[in-house]
């Protein structure tokens, strides 16, 4: 039993068909629970009032926006090294989801920034990096769309993903160098004693869990769609030959 079994599309389809309802159900459950808990059963912040509650959407979405790119990087590497098609399709499937999370993070940030910073947008390092990440996602998706041959597209987008990762990191540090920020430091990190007060912290953890599960569910679903589309193409091609 190894993870490479799931490189077999049939095996992947079987297992994901079994797992998808569970992951989706858990995602919905924890998102509903976390968001209701966060929105209605936490106190208002003494300075930010109720606007602080957007954190339950903003932080998980921003986390997953970056994690989605990391996942694409890993699956692209697996595709380049071991030529497993499911891996390439998973990377393709994850890109629009990651883009959506990036946009959610930007929009919720703007909604929060208006009352708190007095502006929808500031050229702050974090905000700018996220905008650049959006561009990287768009380029990646556009390259997938532009190339007809699926294997060529998979190869080229994988190379783009590798190079893009390096340049995304470079841009992150270049942007830090370019402007000092308005954005607060990391809300969550593993090495800090206390991140945010516990009343906000526990619902936030539930929301993050929900977003992770939602991401996994969406990627599974989209990968299944891609595999089916690929099979359909194969069937059509066979029919044309016959």
């Amino acid at each position: 039993m190894s993870i490479w079994e799931y490189a077999n599309p049939k095996k992947f389809m079987q297992t994901s068909a079994w797992a998808l309802p569970w992951v989706m159900g858990l995602a919905v459950l924890s998102l509903v629970a976390g968001l209701i808990w966060g929105f209605f059963f936490t106190p208002d912040d003494f300075r930010q009032g109720s606007t602080v509650k957007i954190i339950y959407l903003h932080v998980p979405a921003a986390m997953m926006a970056i994690n989605a790119w990391v996942m694409m990087l890993v699956t692209s590497l697996i595709w380049l090294v071991r030529r497993h098609h499911v891996s390439a399709l998973a990377a393709k499937a994850a890109a629009p989801v990651g883009l959506t999370f990036t946009v959610i993070a930007l929009v919720t940030g703007a909604l929060w920034g208006q009352p708190m910073w007095g502006t929808w947008w500031a050229w702050d390092p974090r905000l700018t990096s996220f905008l650049i990440l959006t561009l990287f996602y768009m380029g990646y998706i556009a390259l997938w769309e532009a190339i007809e041959n699926p294997d060529t597209a998979a190869d080229l987008t994988a190379v783009l993903c590798l190079v893009g990762s390096v340049f995304a990191l470079l841009s992150r540090y270049a942007v830090l160098f370019w402007n000092q920020g308005l954005h607060q430091g990391a809300s969550l990190s593993l090495d800090k004693e206390e991140n945010v007060a516990d009343v906000f912290w526990f619902p936030l953890l539930v929301c993050i869990g929900g977003f992770v599960l939602l991401f996994v569910a969406l990627v599974l679903m989209r990968t299944r769609t891609e595999i089916r589309a690929r099979r359909l193409q194969a069937l059509l091609a066979r029919e044309r030959l016959a």
């Binding site: 532009a146 190379v159 893009g164």
Partner: protein, 218 residues
């Protein structure tokens, strides 16, 4: 390699090669910006470093799809790929040729446009130096982008979507050098970072570009 370089240079110089087009675009940009922004010297001088760097970036972009597309269409890229010279070297030479016909002339005319844009006197040396150090990175990164889209018909727009985000670090450090230089501040750090990006890109990206070309020629 020398033969390939001189061939690419000659092709670029001859009629229809597009040499000078990028330069004309750069000049136009430097004329249009004051028309749009207004003639106040203070404002222009302040934004001149950024405008000149963005202009260099865009004029570089104009001629990128010529690096591989024509050779791909008439089959000479296949010949180059099967020649004894490694494909990585082909990419490097072609990027060099692209730099010689775009980046280098851009660097040469940039001070003149700096005058048009009212760049402070202290900035000229840094402008030339930063462009000299930074534009090779633009050509190499561009060659990588061009290698990715070489098989796509009418890939020009896609090319800019792919390449411009990759230009971000070069732009930031390059413009920062000029901005700080013009203000009389310390410039060593951004200058070294800019040189680092150019060297890193020139060392590593030919491999990625060659891999992309191999995929496209498959």
């Amino acid at each position: 390699m020398g033969a390939l370089l001189s061939r690419d240079l000659r092709l670029a110089m001859r009629a229809g090669g597009g040499f000078g087009l990028g330069l004309a675009f750069f000049l136009l940009l430097a004329v249009l910006v004051p028309l749009g922004v207004g003639p106040e010297g203070g404002v222009l001088g302040k934004i001149a470093p950024g405008i000149l760097w963005v202009g260099a970036l865009l004029s570089c972009l104009l001629s990128l799809d010529r690096i591989f597309a024509l050779d791909f269409e008439d089959g000479s890229l296949d010949l180059l790929a099967t020649s004894p010279m490694p494909l990585e070297a082909v990419v490097a030479v072609k990027a060099l040729a692209h730099w010689l016909v775009t980046g280098l002339p851009l660097t040469a005319v940039a001070p003149v446009l700096g005058v048009l844009l009212n760049l402070p006197v202290e900035g000229y040396g840094w402008l030339v130096l930063s462009l000299l150090l930074g534009t090779p990175a633009l050509s190499v990164i561009g060659a990588f982008g061009a290698a990715l889209v070489v098989g796509v018909k009418r890939g020009g727009l896609l090319l800019s979507l792919l390449v411009l985000p990759l230009y971000v670090p070069t732009l930031i450090f390059g413009a920062e050098v000029v901005k700080r230089g013009a203000a009389g501040l310390e410039v060593v750090v951004p200058l070294l970072l800019l040189a680092g990006i150019t060297l890193g890109a020139a060392a590593l990206l030919p491999f990625a570009a060659a891999a992309a070309i191999r995929v496209n020629l498959r």
